[in-house]
């Protein structure tokens, strides 16, 4: 139990550390990365249900980003695995329900269901990977700033930022509570009964509310006006335009032209 929490805690912190690196990709204006990611995700999910070949070239983008931003691949893959159960749970019904043979590999017939399941897994890796890459190359505060510049309401972005700031504090607080609880219950093996759980949650909530009031007073006394201030300076310039136009154009190209078909049939030609 607590290992799971510790790991989640560590993961957020680790993504934050990754985002603080100083590579060409990290120095790009966050808006360029946000918009490029959006184009990427929409292109990936707009493919037909049985598309496999067309999706494969899209792995180019994560590869380039991981390379340029010097990100640890194993860490990202582990995060992908951690969240995959839901998609697998829904997708695994495809092979079961859709049994018509679609591709014949010698004596083995592959049903449409397996093809669409594979397609689903590819989409999942690409879209979720894209989100992780965005945060690992940008950082949360900077994304909040980009969202505001792109028109998100200030109230929303400010409290998004506050949520993130106090996430660490509160998670640390809940870890302390759970440790205290487990030290006081010898035979429970880390299990928390409903009544104890409620009291812990209630106390955590009361502490949270008090903390919010202290935070607000402290912020006011430091002249907080509701504006987000980020140390690193960004501007949407030549590089950003190139990044967005280059990758955005590539994605659209891969999505719309026969280049995919060519590549796809090549891939299928090898496997088939």
């Amino acid at each position: 139990m607590s290992t799971k929490i510790d790991r989640a805690f560590y993961d957020i912190g680790h993504l934050d550390i990754l985002a603080e690196a100083d590579t060409p990709l990290h120095r790009l204006d966050p808006r360029a990365k946000l918009l490029t990611t959006a184009v990427f995700v929409v292109c990936v999910v707009s493919f037909g249900k049985y598309e496999i070949a067309g999706l494969l070239p899209f792995f180019l983008y994560p590869a380039v980003v991981i390379g340029l931003a010097e990100l640890p691949l194993s860490f990202l893959l582990r995060k992908l695995l951690l969240v995959s159960p839901f998609v697998i749970f829904i997708g695994i019904f495809n092979p079961w329900l859709d049994r018509e043979v679609m591709v014949q590999l010698g004596p083995v017939g592959i049903s449409g269901g397996w093809v669409s399941f594979a397609s689903l897994l590819l989409r999942f890796s690409l879209t979720v990977g894209a989100a992780l890459l965005l945060i690992a190359t940008t950082g949360f505060g900077t994304i909040c700033m980009a969202l505001e510049q792109l028109g998100a309401p200030r109230v929303f972005t400010v409290q998004l930022l506050l949520l993130y700031r106090y996430l660490f504090v509160l998670i640390a607080e809940s870890i302390r509570m759970m440790r205290a609880q487990s030290l006081r219950s010898f035979n429970a093996k880390g299990r928390i009964s409903y009544r104890v759980f409620l009291q812990m949650l209630g106390n955590l909530l009361l502490r949270t509310i008090d903390r919010a009031q202290r935070i607000h007073m402290a912020m006011l006394s430091r002249a907080f006006t509701g504006e987000i201030r980020i140390v690193r300076q960004f501007s949407f310039g030549y590089k950003e335009a190139c990044f967005l136009a280059g990758f955005g154009g590539l994605f659209l190209c891969l999505r719309l032209t026969d280049l995919t078909a060519l590549l796809g049939s090549l891939v299928l030609g090898i496997t088939g």
Partner: protein, 351 residues
């Protein structure tokens, strides 16, 4: 449960994004209008609390599944609907980015599924009605239980509808419903019990916190409200169009091409790429293999239009509810001549 990018079509994801963005803009304007700037840090910190609480929640014995506390109802009770909606939206944003829960396109769906239903339906129409202004332990328990269950059932149903309309999963609509609703009944019961427990704990320890939240100020009619109504109407329109479009084409083009056999691979892909508008029809079809296997276009059309109808109805319902909430707010606003007299607020009894 979180919707995932991989299960979505761009049309469905985009529509839900538009709806979520409109709701966020609307709620932000509402919160700003209430001029209670103390609420902004409280919102952020309580959203962080939901995170911390969700982490403890995984350890409750007896559930067996990994269903976690949405926290939506609890936030609605503590903050009031618009502020709670923003807090939930930001929790989901952080989850999408850091925990890779769902993904960026699915964020719109998740915000609607887990934010709108608890904040604008379960809390004002169920919880508030049952608990009223003089809570008792029994009322708190029934109110929280029913509100949490209803909110989660609607959210789960929305997940099913969005998945079915997107057509990436082969799971037939009916079996998916049968699969999802009971799971979420269990999750809803857990959530209702936990919400009731924590709220009654707070109610005993610090009743003023709840009283303050319960007497959330009605605010005069905002122009932004009209924008939301327009956006809701647009959503209904797009959703309706989408489902009609889907039902106009009873059988998947690609499917029939596959059946022809031979060079299906290339032909299909050409068909896919040549016609950009075809993207919707390809991906929005109800992918029920059973219907298609029974060949006759009729049953296929039936299946598709059922999904379309349900989706359309759902969005329509959403629009109606938002309209109702706005209307209620508007009516409530008349008692208060000044929009920001919340400093000496009095409870507003006619809810």
């Amino acid at each position: 449960m979180h919707m995932a990018d991989a299960l979505l079509s761009p049309a469905v994801g985009g529509t839900m994004w538009a709806a979520a963005a409109a709701a966020t803009v609307y709620c932000s304007a509402k919160v700003r209008q209430s001029l209670d700037d103390r609420k902004v840090p409280l919102m952020g910190v309580l959203a962080a609390f939901v995170f911390a609480a969700q982490m403890i929640n995984f350890t409750i014995p007896g559930t067996g599944s990994s269903g976690h506390l949405g926290g939506g109802l609890m936030l609605a009770i503590l903050l009031g609907p618009p502020a709670a909606f923003l807090a939930i939206a930001s929790v989901l944003t952080v989850q999408a980015l850091f925990f890779a829960d769902g993904g960026l396109l699915a964020l719109g769906c998740n915000i609607i599924n887990l934010g709108i239903f608890p904040c604008f339906i379960a809390y004002p129409l169920i919880y508030k009605r049952i608990v009223g202004s003089h809570p008792t332990r029994a009322r708190l328990l029934t109110g929280s239980l029913i509100a949490a269950i209803v909110g989660l059932q609607m959210g789960a149903f929305a997940v099913v509808t969005e998945t079915t309309l997107s057509g990436v999963s082969s799971l037939p609509f009916s079996s998916f419903v049968v699969l999802m609703q009971p799971i979420h009944l269990a999750i809803g019961i857990v959530e209702g019990l936990v919400t009731a427990g924590v709220i009654s704990f707070i109610w005993q320890a610090r009743p003023e916190i709840l009283e303050k939240a319960a007497t959330d100020q009605p605010i005069g009619i905002l122009p932004i409200g009209k924008i939301l109504v327009i956006m809701a109407a647009l959503t209904v329109l797009i959703g309706g169009l989408l489902s009609w479009y889907a039902s106009e084409h009873p059988d998947g083009l690609e499917w029939s091409m596959f059946k022809v056999s031979g060079q299906e691979e290339l032909e299909t892909r050409e068909g896919l790429h040549k016609d950009l508008a075809g993207v919707q029809e390809q991906t929005a079809l109800m992918p029920d293999y059973g219907f298609k296997k029974s060949a006759a276009g009729d049953s296929g059309r039936l299946g598709t239009s059922v999904a379309g109808l349900v989706g359309g109805l759902l969005v329509l319902l959403l629009g109606v509810v938002i309209g109702l909430v706005l209307k209620k707010r508007g009516a409530g606003g008349h008692d208060h001549s000044h929009p920001h007299d919340h400093d000496h607020s009095h409870p507003n009894h006619h809810h």
